[in-house]
Structures are given as structure tokens and as C-alpha cells.
């Protein structure tokens, strides 16, 4: 469709005209005119809603909201065309079969062996060995081979040694969806562990001997402690309501030596609505400070994030400080339980704060234990009530921790944003389906590629320059402040207003420091070479030799500090009054808008992530600090991304 206008969210006056293309996998908007021909690409699987608005004099507006929080406003001249696009997109955005998803057609030009290597990057067996199991207390159980006991669990599950197959099967019959207690994290320093399960089918009075034995076995696997905590992550009212349906929670009287604890994290429906409300606030056109703060408060989003963090902090404290094992469950044990177990693991074990460890953590607590990715993130057309930002909340918890502990994580914000993107993109097979069983049936590993290998290949883009493996923040347990701490939880504009680059700091400290770090390393290497040469020179000094230096070329390359890292931008709309006043058109205006360089969360070799058609490598990014590049400050986004922060003087 031609002559389509793409509107700017921050500035209604700025719109670009271009052509809209629909392909089998993407919506593509190509800008007319300018030499750069900016392109905006959106994957069909990212589309969360399409809204056709009332036709106006200028055309028919179409609003596309994406799961990665991009919002695209198009105006299509002809109503008929708009309707066709709308109908096609509705169909394309809601595939009904897995085979329609992008990962089955995505081909990064890797051979079979490379693909298989990619899938081997994250190995959970290795991970359990790293934790220190199997050992004299824990063993791997084959009770769930062929998914005979629980079809949403992995085939290989760690259980206490004293839990026989009989106990496990008995316990599984007493738990929702037969999700029996299994090991999530083991702390080899003090034998304390985190186990996970679903709620017991206790109703008002039901008991199950095997389930009671199962919890006893977990306690025995930690000889240092005479009780375990049972943490129900639901609000107490919700758990009580479940009793009427024959479900519920553990009665302390029936289980020997448990301490029962409720932690009120709301259910997926509350969370879905909360996100919805927060996104409405993010979408407000020129909101006042009050509109924004009240809207954010009333969405309750940060309160929910804090509840999840508090639960994780409680469990980490029990394990690390009290040396007590914890059994965590919610209703089915695949949403809140996954959030809380992974936050606790992240606090406890520095390994999960490395890039590789974080991949392992998601694979362990989310993918292998049957978090329902397909239902929660709507990969296939399904029940909208199943959709909820469960893993988004976990990812945000990690970001909140990164803000409090800037040196503790090996990876940066961009890493989190890209993982979030790919949970929805369906470009890689990792997060397809609802369980390991379904993924095996679909032969995901033979037919698709692994995201982890892709991220690992580009890991230099995702490093946190402040991370040092010998830094105090990278040792041992993290202790976030508990109270007073409401102010510690901040709105994450890098995620939820990710595509409104004008809102973000205009200069990226992370990229700058990474460049500094790289340069220092290069200089040190060079220094070594030079020292060696000097030594040689001195030896051959008597021979009166002449060495021609080629160093001058190099000095340009290392000119980081003689350059400036200054970045230009243009003013926002600070006034509505100015337009009525005859103004000189600023001659610099156009030049400046081409100079825009914003903090770039999207630096990547991945076209879909940056919503761009082409890429520039991180190396070229460095040039924005070099004297030669100082003139035009190229960045990945400049001149290409339709969402850059351009504000019109009016």
C-alpha cells in the first residue's frame, strides 16, 4: 500500500510518508523520498493488537500495538486498503499452528552441526552437577520418563534420596496437575534447597501420607535444619478460595516440621490488567507529571514487582542465612513459583548473574519446568485470558536489581530487553509450546535454532562494563534493602517506552565504558608488543638499526580521548505558542535531526530487534567517539529508525 503515513507518538506534527508491505513474516514500512529510505520492520508474532479507528479527512488510521511495547500508528489513504490490511494482519498475527511460526522458516545460515552445538550451549545436567547434585541427599529420578507422572515436568527431576517412586507418585496424585515437589536450587554450602510444586489437593480436610512423607524427605535432605518453610506465593484469600474447589494449602498440623507462609503475589489476571493500565499511561499524549505518577501508582505495577522481589528475598534469606530448605508453590506452580524461585536463585548464586548462568536459569526454572510460554505470550491464537506478563515481571525484577547493584551482573539492560523481545518473536525455538513434552514432539531442536547461541555469539553487545568477577558485588548472596524501599522500584522506561528514544538519556554510559574498556585492553596489548620491541631495539642498539614506525596509523585508532562523545539532539515541543509566530526556519534543523544519537538499547546484529532493515556493528559504533567520525556521529539508529527522538521546533 502506498502513501501511508507513519505518525510519531511524541510529536503529532511529525509524520513520514512511505509504502507499507505485508510479507509472510513481517510488516514493513519503507519511507519515501530521503536517500536513507528508513525501514521499520515488525514481526507478525510481535503484534498484540490492531485497532482500526474512525476514518478522518486524511485517511484511515490503523494502530498496531506490539508485545515488545512498540506502538505504530499508520494512516492509510483509502478506507478499503486499510480494511484489507487490517483483515490480513488479524489473520497473520494469530497463527493457529506452530508450523506457521517464524522459527520454522528463519534461517540464519548455519549448518546442522552449528545448530546442534547451539542447542548444547545450555545443558541442565551440567547445571545440576555444578550445584552439587546428585550427592548423598539428592538423586535424579526417572519416575517421569515418558512424562508418565507429570506431563508438564521434564523427564529428569531431582528428588530427595529418601523419596521412593511410590512416595513421588503418591504425592503427585495429591498435587494440582500432578506437579510434585522437585528440586529447583541446591545450596552446597549448607545443604539447604529450594523445591517447587503445585498446590496440594487438600480441600478442607484431605490428607495424603505420601505427600507428607515427601515433605519430610525434603527436610531430611538438609540435616542441618529441623524444619522446612512452605511458601505459598498466593494471597491468603485466593488460597482459601481454592479449598472450596478441593485444592488449597498445607495444614501445618498434618505435616511434621513445616513452617507455612503466605506471600501475596496476585494472579495472572490481576497482572495482565496492571500491565494494561501501565501501558495506557505510557501511551498518554504529553501527560503532566501528575497524570503519569498517578497512572503509574494506580496501575499497581511496581507494587506487584516489589511483591515478587520480597518473596525472592524471603526465600534467599531462609536458604543463605537460616540454612532452611524451602518448598515454593502457588496454584499450578508454573507462574508465580517460577518467578519466585528464579529471583531467589539469582540473589543466592552469583553464577546466575553471569550471561551464561542467566540463560541456564531461564532454561531451568522456566523452560524445563513447564512454564506455559505459548499460552502466556500468545504465540498461537488462544484464550486471551491465559495471556499474562509473567516472565516480563521476572525480567523487570532483574533490571531493578541491576539498578541497585550496578556491578553485580555480567550482562547489561540490552540483554534483558533482547530476551524479552525473543520470548515473543518466535524467531528461535527455545520458548515454543507449553512444556518440554510438546517441544520434543515438535522436534524443536531439529527444526529451529537456539536463541542462547545467537546471544552468545553477540555477547560483546551485552556485557556490563562495570562487572568484574573479583568485585565484592559479584560474590555471594545479594542483599537488597527491604524497608523502607518503595522508592527503590522505578519505572523502566528502557523497556516500556523502549521505542520512544527521545525519553531516554541521550548518551549511553554502558556503550561508552565498553569502548573505553576495549580500548584499554588494546592499548595494554599494544604496550606489551611495544615493550618487547623496545627490548629488542636495545639489544640491537649497537648495530645502529633504523626502525620505521607504523605507529602513526594506530594513534588515530586510539584517539578516544582527543575526541568528543558529544551528541546532538533536537528540541522537543516545549511550546505550542511558537507555531503561530512567524519564525525563521532554522538552517541547522535538518542537519541536527540527522545527528540524533540516542541511548541505544537495540544495538544488535538482529534486524527485527532494532526495527531496522540493516545493521551496523558495534565496532562502527565506536567511531562516534573518534575524531574522524565526530562530524556525523553515525549510530545504528541515526537516519534509519522511524522512532528516533525528533522533536519539531514547530
Amino acid at each position: 500500500v502506498e502513501n501511508v503515513r507513519l505518525l510519531d507518538r511524541l510529536s503529532s506534527r511529525r509524520a513520514v510518508v512511505g509504502t507499507l508491505y505485508l510479507t509472510a513474516t513481517h510488516v514493513i514500512f519503507v519511507e519515501n523520498g530521503s536517500e536513507t529510505r528508513k525501514e521499520t520492520w515488525v514481526l507478525h508474532s510481535q503484534i498484540s493488537s490492531i485497532e482500526k479507528q474512525a476514518t478522518t479527512a486524511t485517511g484511515c488510521p490503523l494502530l498496531i500495538r506490539c508485545k515488545n511495547f512498540q506502538v505504530i500508528q499508520l494512516v492509510i489513504p483509502q478506507e478499503r486498503d486499510c480494511h484489507d490490511v487490517y483483515i490480513s494482519l488479524i489473520r497473520l498475527a494469530r497463527p493457529v499452528k506452530y508450523e506457521e511460526l517464524y522459527c520454522f522458516s528463519f534461517n540464519p545460515k548455519l549448518d546442522k552441526e552449528e545448530r546442534e552445538q547451539g542447542w548444547k550451549l545450555v545443558d541442565l545436567n551440567e547445571e545440576y552437577n555444578r550445584m552439587g547434585v546428585p550427592n548423598s541427599y539428592w538423586q535424579i529420578s526417572d519416575v517421569n520418563r515418558d512424562y508418565g507422572v507429570c506431563d508438564s515436568y521434564p523427564t529428569e527431576v531431582y528428588v530427595p534420596k529418601s523419596a521412593t517412586a511410590h512416595i513421588i507418585v503418591g504425592s503427585s496424585k495429591f498435587r494440582s496437575r500432578r506437579r510434585f515437589p522437585a528440586l529447583s536450587y541446591y545450596c552446597k554450602d549448607n545443604n539447604a534447597s529450594i523445591c517447587r510444586s503445585s498446590q496440594p489437593l487438600s480441600g478442607f480436610s484431605a490428607r495424603c501420607l505420601e505427600d507428607e512423607q515427601m515433605l519430610q524427605a525434603i527436610r531430611k535432605a538438609n540435616p542441618g535444619s529441623d524444619f522446612i518453610y512452605v511458601v505459598d506465593t498466593r494471597p491468603k484469600l485466593n488460597a482459601m478460595a481454592n479449598r472450596a474447589a478441593g485444592k488449597g494449602y498445607e495444614n501445618e498440623d498434618n505435616y511434621s516440621n513445616i513452617k507455612f507462609q503466605f506471600i501475596g503475589i496476585e494472579n495472572i489476571h490481576v497482572m495482565r490488567n496492571s500491565l494494561q493500565k501501565m501501558l495506557e499511561v505510557c501511551e498518554l499524549k504529553s501527560p503532566s507529571m501528575s497524570d503519569f505518577l498517578w497512572g503509574l501508582e494506580n496501575s499497581g505495577w511496581l507494587k506487584h514487582i516489589k511483591a515478587i522481589m520480597d518473596a525472592g528475598i524471603f526465600i534467599a534469606k531462609a536458604v543463605a542465612e537460616e540454612g532452611v530448605s524451602v518448598l515454593v508453590h502457588c496454584s499450578d506452580g508454573w507462574d508465580r513459583t517460577a518467578q519466585v524461585c528464579s529471583v531467589a536463585s539469582l540473589l543466592l548464586d552469583p553464577y546466575y548473574r553471569t550471561m551464561k548462568g542467566f540463560m541456564v536459569l531461564i532454561e531451568k526454572d522456566w523452560v524445563s519446568f513447564g512454564h506455559k510460554f505459548n499460552h502466556r505470550y500468545g504465540n498461537l491464537d488462544g484464550d486471551p485470558k491465559e495471556i499474562s506478563p509473567v516472565i516480563d515481571q521476572f525480567i523487570e525484577c532483574v533490571w531493578q536489581l541491576m539498578e541497585q547493584f550496578p556491578c553485580a551482573f555480567e550482562f547489561n539492560e540490552r540483554f534483558l530487553i533482547h530476551i524479552q523481545h525473543h520470548i515473543y518473536s518466535c524467531q528461535f525455538g527455545n520458548f515454543l509450546c507449553n512444556s518440554q513434552k510438546e517441544r520434543r514432539e515438535l522436534k524443536i531442536k531439529e527444526r529451529t535454532y537456539s536463541l542462547w547461541a545467537h546471544l552468545w555469539k553477540n555477547r560483546s553487545d551485552y556485557l556490563n562494563p562495570l562487572y568484574r568477577s573479583d568485585h565484592s558485588q559479584t560474590q555471594g548472596t545479594l542483599h537488597p534493602q527491604i524497608a523502607p524501599c518503595n522508592f527503590l522500584y522505578k519505572f523502566w522506561s528502557g523497556m516500556y517506552n523502549r521505542f520512544e528514544k527521545g525519553l531516554h538519556p541521550r548518551q549511553s554510559v554502558t556503550d561508552y565504558l565498553m569502548a573505553v574498556k576495549e580500548e584499554t585492553q588494546q592499548l595494554e596489548e599494544e604496550l606489551e608488543v611495544l615493550q618487547e620491541r623496545l627490548a629488542n631495539l636495545q639489544k640491537s642498539q649497537s648495530g645502529n638499526n633504523k626502525v620505521k614506525s607504523k605507529q602513526q596509523d594506530q594513534s588515530k585508532q586510539f584517539g578516544l580521548y582527543t575526541s568528543n562523545n558529544s551528541l546532538a539532539n533536537t528540541p522537543q515541543e516545549y511550546s505550542n505558542d511558537l507555531k503561530s509566530f512567524p519564525s525563521r526556519s532554522p538552517s541547522q534543523g535538518d542537519e541536527d535531526s540527522a545527528l540524533i544519537l540516542t541511548q541505544d538499547n537495540l544495538k544488535s546484529s538482529d534486524p527485527d530487534l532494532s526495527a531496522n532493515s540493516d545493521q551496523e556493528s558495534g565496532v562502527e559504533d565506536l567511531s562516534c567517539r573518534s575524531p574522524s567520525g565526530g562530524g556525523c556521529l553515525p549510530s545504528e539508529d541515526s537516519g534509519k529508525d522511524s522512532d528516533e527522538a525528533v522533536f519539531l521546533a514547530g
Binding site: W294, F487, P505, R506, L567, A568, F581
Partner: protein, 543 residues
């Protein structure tokens, strides 16, 4: 703690050890109380006082009050734990509790101590820098005496009795730092872009005109050129000001000027906003934090101030027009807007020296009444009528700019904190009095030290630099969207939030940047020595 407020700044000092730069424990000549002060000090020393501060272990020691300072030295070791400028005390709250029982002397001639055994009192000191200290003092009478001494000393009005007139730091000469003439220098730089400020015209209810004023504004503009007047009051407020003799420039008499109204709060509403924000920050573990933050309206003031400054900058830079900014007196919101606009437009204001020049020019010499506005801080419920945190609002806006443009300001957060502290209570004369005339009457420049002289000492200066700074010749246009404006936690939660992990991050940044600098130098040095392969160079390096 010591790094936050260097000892010799004299202000809010919490030094773990007695630092050499601090006057010694025994009152020196400067500390010796003149008659006026000694009358105010009812009890000079009390032993066995327990000091508690949020986030720090409590300390027991001897409390001593001098003319200008409150000191606490921990017993038994005698290390100085607290050195607080009494001027920094914003409010004193006292609570006495009678733990024992009162026993009247049984016989008339008994030497028995009539003091209530076990009685004690707690004094809470709310400081102007937002720190809160608690002193538990044995003895009810001592407690009340100490409290009233602090109250009396902290509210001494006479400028010339204030600490800067007594403070003589080692290594600094009195005249140092006072003889900058940033005004002249600046006029040369920005002659082409004209940003002007003034107070309101005295139009009055009868719509008086003033030919000279019209002519003056006329001469600023060329034939056919237009200018903007940014009035920092609402159109209605400006109109109302006519009733009291003020007003605005009517279009008919100033045809080349276009007036824009941008209402910025000042005075009482701004002070109350500050108070509410500090209260919200102090309340522990509360619900609806964002709601409380919103109802303080502080961030709305930040957004409004930044937007107006951007508007002024935009008129100058983008429209190429001359801009006149004024409110009523031209000493509050006017300065806020002109100073911020210059920081946005002019890279020379973003260096450490340039920023000092900007403050000197746009705040101090321009006559912002610091003494009136900063007499009390956030604990001054309804006491003063003149207090308003305009300067703090300016510093907050500068902080917002530094967050959005982390490489473009040569100075870091520490400088902004130090300026805030010193504006409210200082050992230096820089922020004393309300205008140049008063400063000259009080002989401030002759008898006190300049804060700038202190800050610009090479070692001190280092603390205030931004390790990421790199000169940016361009205009820095900030985003004023709510998503981009954040609470300045480093100031408002300075004494509440744990900062260790963030401090470590800055240390790491410094380490990275300095590591790069040194290896860059070393490498260049080696390279040079290699590119001139003369025999002596080789042997020199070989040593």
C-alpha cells in the same frame, strides 16, 4: 561519610576521625565564644550522650557546644564522631522521659543530688541538609539546656556573627576566589545571542507607560526584528500584579515583543512542595509512594522549570530571537530560567569553572536573596514567609540534565550536593546576604573565605569532577516528558537510601576511565620513544 562533606566545608560534617583540616577539639581562637554567644550556651558539655543516625551504628560520647559547632567525641577513645555546624540545624525537637522516680531531699542539709535519677531526654535535630540526628542525653535539665542553646545559636540573625566571619581554613588566603569577574567575560561570549532578564514593569492599575523602558527594549531589536518576553507568571497573575503597581508589557507599547506566560510556582507553594517531598521520603515502608511523590508536586515543578528554560533556549537558538525573561522581582524564577537556559545552550557553562561563573553571575550577583530563601529548610513548618527552595530546584534541574547527558557536564552530583549544603549553612561567605549591596556593607569579601577558592584547590576539585566528561559543543535539549524526569535520590534520600553499591559503581567507572588514560599515556610514550630510534632514547627507557 567524610567524603560526602569534606571536613573543612564545616557544614554537615560526620567525620569518623578528626581530620587535620578541622579545627581541633579544644575551641581555637575562632571557636572561643564571644560574649554574645556564651550567653546563649546554657550547658557547654554533657557526658554519656548517645548519638544515633539512620543507617549508622549509634555512638556514645561527650557532647560539646561551641559558638558555631556541636561536637560529639566518642568515649572512651575520644575520636571525634560528629562535627556539626549549628547553622545547619533546621529544627530541634525535644522529648524528655522520666524513667526513674523523683525523690525530694529528706533532710534540709542533705548533699544528696536532687537531680531526677534515671531521667533523660531525646533531642532530634533536623538539619537543613535533610539529615536527621538523635541525641539521647542523660538528665532532663541538661537535655533542655542543650536544646535551647542549639535553638538560640541556630537562629542568630546577624550576618556578621555567622561562622564564615570566624572561619580561617589553613592554606587559603582571604581574598582568594572573590576576584573573578565572570560578568565581563560572559558578555563578550554571548553578545550575539541576547538573553535578558529584568523585573516586571511598573505598569500599575492606570496602565502607566515609560518611554525610556520602551525605547530600551526597542533598541535591543533591529528594524522589523521580533523578540520574546517570557513572563514566569500566569497571564492572570501578571494582570493582578497591576493592582499592586506591577504588571506586564502591553502589546500596544511594545509592538515588536511577543509575550509568553509560563506560570512557575515560587514562594510558599514551592516551599510547601519541598516540605511534603521530604516528609514523603522520610516515612518508612509506606504504601502508595508514587501517590505521595505526586502530591508533593516537586517533580511537576522540575518539569515546569526545565520546560520554560527550554522554551527560552528554543526562542534564542531556533527562532534566532532575542529573549527577555522576567517574573515579578526578577530574583527568583527569572534566575532559574535564565541560568538553566544558558546551561542548555552554552557549553562553556558546563565546565566546572564555567558553572561557578554561571552561579556567581545568574544567582549571586543577580541578587537572589539567599539569606531569606535559605534561612530554613524542609522542617520549617509555617515559620518563615520568605523561604523558598528556588536554588534547590535549579540544582535539581541541573541534575536532571546531567542524568540525560551523562558526558556533557564537567562536574558531578557531589558538586550539586555541596552547593545545596552550602547555600543553607556554610563556613564560607559565598552565599551570605541577599544581594551585592548587603555583601558590601557586611564586608563579606574582605572578611570571609570564598567557597570557590576552597573548591578550586587541586585536590578538592578532583572530587567534583565527572569522570565521563567530554566537551560537547552542542546544545543539550533535554526531554521533559514525565518518563524522563526522576526523583533526585542522591539528594532527597541521601541519608536514607543505602548508597554503597552505587558508590562502588562510580569507583569502578573512575577506575575504568583512569586505567584507560594511563595506558593511553604509557602507550603513546612508548610509541614516541620508538618512532625516534635514536640511541639515547633507547638507553633512557632501558634504565
Amino acid at each position: 561519610m567524610a567524603s560526602r562533606s569534606p571536613p573543612a566545608l564545616g557544614g554537615p560534617l560526620l567525620a569518623p576521625r578528626l581530620s587535620p583540616a578541622v579545627p581541633t577539639w579544644h575551641p581555637t581562637r575562632a571557636e572561643a565564644a564571644p560574649m554574645e554567644f556564651s550567653e546563649l550556651i546554657k550547658t557547654a558539655t554533657v557526658e554519656n550522650v548517645l548519638l544515633s543516625r539512620p543507617g549508622l551504628p549509634a555512638v556514645r560520647g561527650t557532647l560539646c557546644i561551641t559558638s558555631h559547632h556541636l561536637l560529639l567525641s566518642s568515649s572512651p577513645r575520644g575520636d571525634l564522631e560528629l562535627w556539626l555546624l549549628i547553622r545547619n540545624v533546621d529544627a530541634v525537637e525535644k522529648r524528655v522521659h522520666n524513667l526513674g522516680w523523683y525523690q525530694p531531699p529528706r533532710t534540709a542539709g542533705s548533699l544528696r543530688d536532687t537531680r531526677v535519677s534515671g531521667s533523660s531526654g531525646t533531642i532530634t535535630l533536623r538539619c537543613k541538609d535533610l539529615k536527621v540526628l538523635q541525641l539521647e542525653i542523660p538528665g532532663m535539665e541538661e537535655c533542655l539546656n542543650i536544646a535551647s542553646s542549639i535553638e538560640a545559636l541556630s537562629s542568630v540573625d546577624s550576618v556578621m556573627m555567622m561562622y564564615p566571619f570566624f572561619y580561617r581554613p589553613p592554606g587559603l588566603r582571604l581574598q582568594q576566589g572573590w576576584h573573578q569577574s565572570p560578568l565581563e567575560r560572559h558578555f563578550q561570549q554571548v553578545a550575539s545571542q541576547a538573553l535578558l532578564r529584568s523585573s516586571q514593569p511598573l505598569t500599575g492599575p492606570n496602565r502607566r507607560r515609560c518611554r525610556e523602558d520602551e525605547k530600551l527594549l526597542g533598541t535591543i531589536l533591529d528594524e522589523g526584528e521580533r523578540g520574546f518576553i517570557i513572563d514566569t507568571r500566569s497571564a492572570q497573575a501578571a494582570k493582578q500584579a497591576r493592582m499592586s503597581g506591577g504588571g506586564t508589557e502591553p502589546k500596544s507599547s511594545y509592538p515588536q515583543w511577543r509575550r509568553l506566560h509560563r506560570a512557575l510556582d515560587r514562594g510558599r507553594p514551592l516551599q510547601e512542595s519541598f516540605i511534603r517531598l521530604v516528609e514523603a521520603c522520610a516515612e518508612q515502608g509506606m504504601d502508595r509512594w508514587l501517590g505521595r511523590l505526586e502530591s508533593s508536586r516537586w517533580l511537576s515543578h522540575v518539569k515546569a522549570a526545565l520546560s520554560t528554560a527550554c522554551l527560552a533556549a528554543q526562542c534564542l537558538d531556533r527562532e534566532g530571537c532575542k529573549v527577555l525573561v522576567h517574573g515579578a522581582e526578577g530574583t527568583d524564577t527569572t534566575l532559574l530560567v535564565t541560568a538553566l537556559a544558558q546551561l542548555i545552550l552554552d557549553p562553556s557553562c558546563r565546565s566546572l569553572e564555567g558553572f561557578q561563573g554561571l552561579l556567581e553571575r545568574e544567582w549571586i550577583q543577580a541578587g537572589h536573596p539567599f539569606q531569606l530563601r535559605c534561612a530554613r529548610s524542609a522542617s520549617s513548618h509555617g515559620r518563615g514567609k520568605q523561604e523558598a527552595p528556588l536554588f534547590l530546584l535549579f540544582l535539581d534541574c541541573v541534575w536532571q540534565l546531567s542524568r540525560q547527558f551523562p558526558f556533557s557536564l564537567e562536574f558531578g552530583e557531589q558538586l550539586l550536593l555541596t552547593l545545596f549544603d552550602n547555600a543553607y549553612a556554610s563556613s564560607y561567605g559565598t552565599f551570605l546576604c541577599n544581594n551585592e549591596k548587603e555583601r558590601s556593607l557586611c564586608k563579606v569579601k574582605e572578611s570571609t573565605h570564598s567557597l570557590w577558592a576552597w573548591l578550586n584547590q587541586p585536590e578538592e576539585r578532583q572530587k567534583y569532577l565527572n569522570p565521563l566528561y567530554s566537551h560537547n559543543p552542542l546544545v543539550i535539549w533535554p526531554s521533559v516528558e514525565p518518563q524522563s524526569i526522576q526523583l533526585w535520590q542522591g539528594l532527597f534520600l541521601r541519608w536514607i537510601r543505602p548508597s554503597q553499591h552505587l558508590d562502588e559503581a562510580w569507583a569502578e567507572i573512575r577506575r575504568l576511565v583512569e586505567g584507560n588514560n594511563s595506558s593511553s599515556k604509557e602507550s603513546t610514550g612508548k610509541r614516541l620513544s620508538q618512532s625516534f630510534p635514536d640511541p639515547t632514547a633507547g638507553t633512557q627507557n632501558g634504565r
